[in-house]
Symmetry: C2
Amino acid sequence: MSHTPGVRQAQKQKTRQALLDAALGLLEEQSLSSLGLREVTRAVGVAPTAFYRHFRSTDDLGVALVEEALGSLHPMIRTTMSPAEDDDERIARAVELIAGHVAAHPAHVRFIARERHGGVQPVRRAIREQLARFAEEVKAELATDASAAGWSDADLRMLAGLYVDQMLITASYFLETLDAPEEERRRAVGTARRQLRLISVGRRHWLD
Amino acid sequence: MSHTPGVRQAQKQKTRQALLDAALGLLEEQSLSSLGLREVTRAVGVAPTAFYRHFRSTDDLGVALVEEALGSLHPMIRTTMSPAEDDDERIARAVELIAGHVAAHPAHVRFIARERHGGVQPVRRAIREQLARFAEEVKAELATDASAAGWSDADLRMLAGLYVDQMLITASYFLETLDAPEEERRRAVGTARRQLRLISVGRRHWLD
DNA sequence: AATTCCGGAGAACAGTTGTTAACTGCATGG
DNA sequence: CCATGCAGTTAACAACTGTTCTCCGGAATT
């Protein structure tokens, strides 16, 4: 509301971000449901009670991490789906985009893959809602495509969901092969392209 | 090795199973990495120290749960893939089979979905290995199919992986809708069939 | 019938956890 | 320039954790 002049609020959000970062780091080797509040504050170098100034609980922090991890993905959607010149080229570009995102934000990808079916209900719901929004956007984008003429609403929804799930599967597969021999990483890219291509083929002949 | 004389070993495996069952129950609301040894023994009604007679740690118990949850799935593979009379009918049967399994063993499905990307590395590896075996079996089954003529090895591997991942996605989606209004459950079944059908279509026209 | 084996119980340990309360110092708004 | 607000601190709490050692009773072996 107020015009937030800021030295005060700036410092607050600085430690808030430090807590988020530290938590994300700790979550590379455990799940959110085992993440302790003290563990996080200790990693940041701040008193345990300071945690409460920013989050009600670690579950709450988890929900905030969902926003951070998935919020930045929305712009990527349009980029991935947009111009369709050559079909194989669009696929190659999409896979490259995913690979780049995984390399740039591995901890975020790991967090989403891990907590999507994880043990903390509010976090699961937050992820599910964000992914549903993704699916909506993808569906809207698909509907504008010329090749979608004659597709039912349920068909479009199905395809959008398939793309979103496939994106996540591919991302977490790339994550696993992040520090693997390059040959395996190449194979992963190849498999991802092939799978998207098969979906593409199925899409072209859907109305036969 | 020995000829298993019995009353002794029987009781031992009985409490071992009780520990596995109790753990599986507790894991419906948390992740393995936050599951405490004492928590499990308390649920069974035995002393904490008794746990060590059966498992080195809760991680160890997790690996055992992977065997229990996925071991019984191997027979299902052949049933799903086998006779191909009508294509849509095979899909309907496969989806029905998945739905039945989810309804019969929801906790097992939840455990696999949760810990596949979970915070315990040995458990992740155990799941990955079992799923790789599944993919191998599916691939072998696909290779016998007449429509697989001309498919490269990489193509077959890709398709097998797609099927396995799709099976898991569908299962965990069914799990979410287990106690949802029937209308939503119908929609879930419809979406699952549609997605499999699209893969089927893509498969038929793969070599165009 | 005597002896070994072993699943489980019991007690104790040092260390950790989330949460409360009352505090301190400093940027903020009057 | 002074009073308020508020991010962060310190101290303490009861409850819990994994692990070790010692012991017990009954099945298994001989």
